[in-house]
Symmetry: C2
Subunit: 227 residues, 2 copies
DNA sequence: CCACTTAGTGTGAAACATCAACTAAGATAG
DNA sequence: CTATCTTAGTTGATGTTTCACACTAAGTGG
């Protein structure tokens, strides 16, 4: 087996990020306006080339792009899927490894729409995107929606401490339907993925609510059954 | 944004396949013995470089490798995950897009262990593999096991027409536990993914069994609930 | 101290899982 | 021709889980 030495026998390889955060209206995705050809002026997912010299592995490349584009250091990042074909980039056969990142609303505000060419858009009603980024975004949304059904992944869209009502609201906004309160709390309790923060309560002009946090900050727990 | 022109700024990109079939003993995986360095003499997953000139897209590259290595044309193929880092291949920063393929036992017999350097191994007890192929195989097994719980994916390990008892047996062998006959049949019926082949029966020295086929040959249906 | 709001729990009917028995339909042996 | 064996496919009885909804708890503000 010989190595493909010519650069035209190696595809162009990049990392693209679908960065989600929860806005008032629903799920939002971070898009950038392209400054250079191809697709100059179009909205696109944040992305960048893999730097074999600088990136230890694929996820490191994804986190580097995330840091460069949003300034956020270490939220939840998960590989989505790879997209590669002859037509997606007019410059030649190209390969994109797509990642999904979840930010809490406060992280999303800290950085994000600070420049004219970076903006949050409704995930379900985004403008037409460059390359095949529409397909990547659709795949990311499908992945997120399906994982919401049976995992604690949506907790990463909240700050470190949250109430169970807030968590339920996140599930409901992503799924687009209401969940039963007692069943939801039973699922979360059975999964054993969150723990009460002792003494910490969310106070408002009504009964205070217990604050919870994820037991393992980066991990995602799975339910026995669908929500 | 400029293209990374130097070939050392583009990673080496290949496609690796985890090809599963069902043997008497359980799930089997197709491995090849490497003839050339690196890892000459080691067992490895079948794989090959992406050929930007010949492969329309990633899945086409995976199907080409499958065809070249096993002679099988069009079974179930699904992208698993991409693996990329500086250390997995001693020749440099390399990227592998891993695919899972499912073959029926008859297809597996037709081609497969025809050459000395290609052999079926028990998926759960494979020899040490070259590169990071052990990790890829583990990820493929995990994906398969989890999908078995809530989808009709195992049907692709059977020939086009099969009885419900045969299908249940496939689930049981992959899951390693027995399933209730009436509950299993209800799930399959509710999923609406299979249809009876009119008049076709599997005959033996006992009551004949109705033959079924998947409604959409390539698609995988999902259950409302876990098996 | 009463009204209001959200937090968190309890409850009964319906759905489901589980286990096991039952009937069905062929082959085969005597 | 009939009894028996084997697997196909169905039915039912029982305990558990789910689901919708109502209820109690605990704070604020008037």
């Amino acid at each position: 087996m010989t190595l493909p030495d010519d650069s035209d026998r190696r595809p162009i390889a990049s990392v693209d990020l679908v960065i989600f955060a929860l806005a008032e209206a629903g799920l939002a995705v971070l898009l950038m306006r392209r400054g250079a050809a191809p697709f100059a002026g179009s909205w696109a997912l944040p992305g960048g080339w893999i730097h074999p010299g600088a990136d230890a592995d694929l996820e490191a490349a994804a986190r580097r792009v995330l840091r460069e584009k949003t300034g956020v250091e270490a939220p939840y990042v998960e590989q989505l899927q790879s997209f590669g074909n002859a037509g997606r980039d007019p410059r030649g056969w190209s390969l994109s490894i797509a990642y999904v990142a979840l930010l809490s609303a406060e992280e999303a505000l800290r950085r994000g729409a600070n420049a004219a060419d970076v903006a949050w858009h409704p995930a379900a009603a985004s403008p037409p995107l460059a390359f095949d980024h529409d397909a990547i975004l659709r795949a990311a949304l499908a992945r997120l929606r399906s994982k919401v059904e049976y995992s604690t992944l949506p907790a990463h869209l909240l700050p470190a401490a949250f109430t169970l009502s807030e968590l339920q609201s996140v599930y409901e906004r992503i799924l687009g339907r209401n969940l039963d309160k007692s069943a939801f709390r039973k699922r979360i309790a059975d999964a054993g993925c969150v723990e009460a923060v002792p003494g910490a309560m969310r106070r408002a002009s009504h009964r205070p609510a217990q604050l919870y946090r994820l037991k393992q900050a980066r991990a995602t727990a799975f339910f026995d059954r669908i929500l």
